[in-house]
């Protein structure tokens, strides 16, 4: 009998700390599936951020490193220089990558670091109970934007892929979502492309994943997925933003 669906070996069999309906579990599973399929567990080093995904190393059975808030791109750079032939990826949230760590991600991209960045964008600070993120949508209510984010005081949502695309050092940038099985499959493809970019030494890759946070969006799981499709993608359109294989 052929087994069609089972827990990836690289995913540790343990209860997670994530909230109900959270997207991190899906993304971590996809990473584990790829590590299994590519048989690269022994040559992969991952970085966990500060934020909801800080405990990513409790779920992935690979060598992993914690980094201070926002610093994964710099720490990953230091790791990759020691092990240039290993697969090195950094898993970061929107506060980590697009607020406190903006300088680090821009300069890692600008140096064309041959590292894959997995950027989980749920438009809110989950770990600290729901404050505004740099990617919070205009009008979106959070604890620190109680009347909704308005640009005069709070600025605009930052589109990281488009921001990094103008840098000559970035090679592959794509925005995906995990709002449906179809979109999850596309996300897996994008992650594989990111790893392929690195394996072929093509330089900096970043996959931005729109992901639900039902608790701090104050929605149920289904509404959250609809919110991604109908609201988030208007500010953060899905698709390839830059691809070294298909240069325009």
């Amino acid at each position: 009998m052929q087994s069609l669906y089972k827990k990836p070996k690289t995913l540790i069999d343990t209860p997670t700390h994530f909230c109900p309906g959270c997207g991190h579990g899906i993304v971590l599973r996809l990473i584990a599936e790829i590590i299994d399929a590519w048989n690269i567990r022994g040559r992969t080093i991952g970085l966990a951020p500060v934020g909801c995904a800080v405990l990513a190393y409790n779920y992935l059975d690979i060598d992993m490193c914690e980094a201070a808030h926002g610093r994964p791109p710099a720490v990953a750079t230091g790791i990759k220089r020691v092990h240039p032939d290993h697969m090195v990826f950094a898993y970061q949230g929107d506060g980590d990558l697009a607020a406190i760590g903006t300088a680090e991600i821009i300069h890692a991209a600008n140096r064309g670091e041959n590292i894959t960045f997995i950027f989980v964008n749920n438009a809110v600070y989950g770990m600290t109970n729901g404050q505004m993120a740099p990617t919070t949508l205009l009008g979106q209510k959070t604890i620190t934007t109680p009347s909704g984010r308005e640009p005069l005081n709070y600025g605009h949502p930052i589109r990281i892929c488009e921001l990094l695309a103008v840098l000559d050092g970035s090679s592959y940038l794509e925005r995906v979502s995990i709002s449906s099985p179809e979109n999850i499959r596309k996300t897996k493809k994008a992650l594989e492309k990111g790893f392929k970019t690195q394996r072929e030494k093509k330089g900096f890759s970043l996959i931005e994943i729109l992901s639900p946070c039902p608790i701090y969006w104050r929605m149920d799981a289904n509404e959250s997925m609809r919110y991604i499709d109908e609201e988030m993608t208007r500010t953060f359109p899905l698709g390839v933003v830059k691809d070294w294989e298909h240069k325009n």
């Binding site: 190393y57 980094a67 230091g78």
Partner: protein, 365 residues
């Protein structure tokens, strides 16, 4: 073979000799000779040199390379070292060996670019958050800069702890003849905890986050035990003429060089000046100071600060003799005459005649 090098260049080359192959820096005066040297030298030995986008990025790159098992270093000067404090706390909390060079300049704030010793508290007491210690080494010559940087990598690996070299603008930019007497390091201690890919073994995780109640306290107990071991085994100092001295000076780095001049001058008189020069600022040579304080009439601590190390001297002395202080701040460097005058001011009255006889010896210069 003797060479003429600045302290900054000697630090850079000593790191290369010690097997450091990962250097990450950001320009700041007065440590620029170090980063400039590394930019040329690292590629020659197949190492990595990155001019980072910030001090913060540089020290986090060090964090990554140290976690991956490499010998890594960064260098900076006071304001830049302040920026690095976050990662220094993380390095201590993740027990990662690395070397951080601080070529101190005047502060606070942007301060100036001349020599200072005002970062003692930051280096020794923990500039970042949490209960941790760096091993802090204070060279007082170009030769010693090279020797200590070389040893720093071994100490860091031995104890899985970051080591700071606390120099200053004078030591960094001074040129002196020196030689690299130690063999280039080719064999390194095994790091079975490092991130190398979990091929055929259980995974390694480098972290400092212990969210489960009780675990963090347990980890801190482990750190404190390690610090006790370091206190017991790694203290280094130089003691000159402390037996039978009328007064003993305590000074490190550039201040100690000037104090040595005073000690030398006092040879020509019947007033005896001794010197204790801490080489490790942490662990602090408290035992020798404590023992000495039971025999001497008074102690004078000399620093290029408003009085920082003097607090540790007083803690070691525990009131057994008076501890006086002379300091210059904001780029001021004490002269041997100033120190002699301070000695004259603080010695007990029965010694004042003796001191007055040696003052002219100092003033001639």
């Amino acid at each position: 073979m003797k060479q003429l090098l600045t302290g900054n260049e000697a630090a850079a080359e000593a790191a290369i000799q010690a097997g450091c192959r990962y250097y990450y820096g950001y320009p700041i005066t007065p440590q620029n000779e170090l980063i400039n040297y590394m930019a040329i030298r690292m590629p020659q030995v197949g190492g990595t040199f990155i001019q980072a986008e910030s001090e913060i990025a540089a020290i986090n790159m060090v964090y990554g390379s140290a976690a991956a098992g490499g010998r890594a270093m960064t260098s900076s000067s006071s304001p830049g070292i302040s920026l690095k404090q976050e990662a220094i706390s993380y390095l201590a909390g993740s027990e990662l060996p690395c070397v951080i060079v601080n070529i101190q300049r005047g502060g606070p704030g942007l301060g100036d670019i001349s020599a200072s010793q005002a970062d003692y508290f930051q280096a020794v007491k923990g500039g970042g958050h949490g209960d941790y210690h760096l091993i802090v080494l204070a060279p007082s010559s170009v030769q010693e800069m090279a020797d200590l940087v070389y040893d720093a990598f071994d100490l860091a690996d031995k104890h899985r702890n970051p080591v700071m070299i606390l120099g200053d603008a004078q030591i960094g930019q001074l040129m002196e003849p020196m030689e690299f007497s130690k063999k280039p390091r080719e064999v390194f201690p095994l790091k079975d905890w490092a991130l190398t890919g979990a091929e055929g073994r259980k995974r390694n995780v480098i972290k400092s986050f212990y969210p489960i109640k009780g675990q963090l306290e347990e980890f801190n107990a482990h750190l404190q035990k390690k610090y006790r071991t370091i206190r017991e085994h790694e203290v280094r100092y130089e003691a000159i003429n402390i037996h039978g001295a009328d007064i003993v000076l305590v000074a490190y780095g550039t201040s100690a060089r000037i104090c040595k001049e005073v000690v030398k001058k006092s040879h020509q008189s019947e007033f005896k000046v001794g010197l204790i020069r801490p080489i490790t600022l942490w662990p602090f040579p408290e035992q020798v100071i404590k023992t000495m304080s039971e025999r001497v009439q008074c102690i004078l601590t000399v620093e290029m600060s408003a009085g920082q190390m003097v607090e540790d001297v007083r803690l070691a002395v525990e009131g057994k003799c008076p501890v006086h202080f002379y300091g210059r701040t904001g780029g001021g460097v004490p002269t041997s005459l100033e120190i002699m005058r301070k000695i004259a001011e603080v010695v007990p009255s029965n010694l004042i005649d003796k001191v007055n006889r040696i003052l002219p010896l100092v003033e001639v210069k």
